[in-house]
Subunit: 82 residues, 2 copies
């Protein structure tokens, strides 16, 4: 069945303390190539039928109104998985 | 600066109760085109320099050993963001 992927990331101007903690852990463990980590969410929505432009628009609306908190998060991508 | 994206999803054979709750909410709210929802994580690792095959391999190792819980999650993708 077709799948629509929604990606939600913390807004760039916010700190993302969990990501900072992971970045600190990576540095302590010797993985010095990585200077920053941000942690977001990835939703996979299973669609019962072909993905029409209407369904994709509905998914975009769901992503902005239900799946993300627009105060602290941005919807960075909504697309049909290949 | 280059960014490596790591995607982690709950294993297919696991229930993902949070995803089930969202799927139920979507159905109740009239978004009947979506039959299932799975919720995973998306990490963005900032790299201080060009992404070499060694750094990508290091990121794959980090994804499997630190960023995911291999008992309940799978690393579904590790790639350089364009």
């Amino acid at each position: 069945m077709p799948t629509i992927v929604v990606e939600v990331m913390p807004k760039a101007e916010l700190l993302d303390p969990a990501g900072k903690a992971v970045a600190g852990a990576l540095a302590r463990l010797g993985h010095s190539s990585f200077t920053n980590v941000r942690i977001g969410k990835r939703f996979e929505l299973t669609v019962n039928g072909p993905v029409t432009p209407e369904i994709l628009a509905d998914a975009q609306k769901i992503a902005e109104e239900i799946l993300s908190n627009q105060v602290i998060e941005d919807v960075t991508a909504v697309f049909e998985a290949k």
